[in-house]
Amino acid sequence: MNLLMMAEPEKRLIPSSGMRGPVPVLIGIMTFVMVVVAAAGLALANTATIVKNGVENRYSIQIADGEAKAPAAVAAARALPEAVRVEQVPPEALRRTLERWLGPAAAEADVPLPAIIDLDLKPSADASAVAKRIERAVPGARFMAHRSSLAPLLDALRGLTLLAFGLVLLIALASAAAVVLAARGALDTHRSTIEVMHGIGATDDQVARLFLRQIAVDALLGGIAGAAIAGLILAAILGGASFATSLAGSPPLGWGDATILALMPVAIALLATLVARVALMRALHERL
């Protein structure tokens, strides 16, 4: 890119023309935080997708008078052409669940147990029509979509994902603001050289180019350093997180996500260069 290519004499014109000092470190820290927050956001988004997909077509039939009506309900469910899987939850499993609330009393025979039948439907199935048919076949049966009971969890996951991406945006804006200040500072530092160059006939583009290359290099180096540290930490956390993988059925971050995270330093460098160019051109335009 011609904008960033500089001959050796041009480099000599503005020694250390970029931000140097604390700004590359600041960009490194910003990138570190961005990558970590973006990784969290992507993991949350993936988790929400996995949860949503897992329960998308899953329903339950609940019958208060379990023992009497369960066989009829199972038969009615199996007769549905939309049914993919029909499975009654064993009464022992229900009692174990109840033990969490009732303690040993849950094992007593006189505690009435409902029957619960898990039912997976084809994605194209009309759930409300299925519900009507089940309720007609087994009066008193309740047909429930799992997704409606998980809706608050999914909403929370979506909210956290949006929050994470919002934070990434805010950090990017803060980085851009730091670059603007640094670019203006660099112009002030080299004011006399710029005045001479303008006086000799240099265009704003020629002057800005002297600074942009160094700013891009500094931002890229700071960004790569920050992303590398974030990557190591994430790898350490996720590498040992077979627990999370076993829970979700797949790793919380895939290769696509890793690619997005790896490209963040490049995105930061591009953003810094673009913002610096706008800031430099505006600052130069204030002079004749």
């Binding site: 001959a7 004499p9 041009e10 020694p15 001479v196 006086g199 006939g201 004749l288």
Partner: protein, 242 residues
């Protein structure tokens, strides 16, 4: 017949909301002329030079350079005009961290010349101003006279049509002043229009054929009318009216 390279038509200049530092400047300078700009301190010489090398715009009136009206020219067009002007600043304005070679090469590089085309002319120019053996020296290590000659070399390296020098002999001894004047007259002989702001009457006296622009309190004092009607240019239509 020489045309006008500079044309001022009732030009005024003020900084901010202050009083006008230049008022009703009305003159023309011929291409290839040699002009001295004189006047007491505070008369407005530096302000007039700033207008001429396009570091300031007039706040009123019309100013033309190279035949083009530039009072309200778009900012983006000014670099092209500035490349046709060489300026020797009173304080030299050399870039301290660059070598003498790089300082002189700067106008050529800004003009977009390839490096291969820069080396020869810069060496030649450094030799012309007597600094061939100081090519790699940085300005702070040069004497005042050497810096002055370096500034002149930078001003003329791109063969500008107009050279403007602000007190070019202000910091040097008489012998060096003569040498600098010789450089400027040599440029003038090659066809470059030269404008020199100076208090040095000896310098003016040593330059036969040069014309004088005298400023006092921001007003042009030109009793002979020589600047208003430089040799070879007819009066403007507006002046021909009764």
């Amino acid at each position: 017949m020489a045309g006008s390279i500079v044309e001022f038509d009732r030009v005024g200049l003020r900084y901010g909301t202050g009083a006008e530092v230049l008022r009703d400047l009305d003159f023309r300078l011929s291409e290839g002329g040699f002009y001295f700009l004189t006047g007491p301190s505070g008369a407005g010489k530096t302000s007039l030079l700033k207008l001429l090398y396009l570091a300031q715009r007039p706040t009123r009136g019309r100013m033309s350079l190279f035949g083009d009206e530039l009072s309200h020219a778009a900012r983006e067009t000014l670099p092209d005009y500035r490349r046709r002007i060489g300026v020797v600043f009173q304080d030299f304005r050399l870039i301290r961290h660059l070598s003498a070679f790089d300082n002189v090469a700067l106008p050529l590089r800004i003009a977009g010349l390839e490096e291969a085309a820069v080396e020869g002319p810069v060496r030649e120019m450094l030799a012309w101003v007597g600094l061939a053996d100081r090519a790699s020296a940085r300005p702070p290590t040069l004497s005042g006279g050497e810096q002055q000659r370096l500034a002149i070399a930078r001003a003329v390296i791109a063969r500008p049509e107009l050279v403007i020098a602000d007190e070019p002999t202000g910091n040097v001894d008489a012998a060096m002043a003569q040498r600098i004047l010789h450089l400027l007259t040599a440029m003038n002989r090659l066809g470059t229009t030269v404008i020199v702001a100076t208090h040095d009457l000896g310098l003016i006296a040593a330059t036969p054929g040069a014309q004088l622009i005298r400023l006092e309190n921001g007003v042009l004092v030109d009793p002979t009318g020589a600047l208003k009607h430089p040799p070879g240019t007819p009066p403007r239509a507006s002046e021909a009216r009764p």
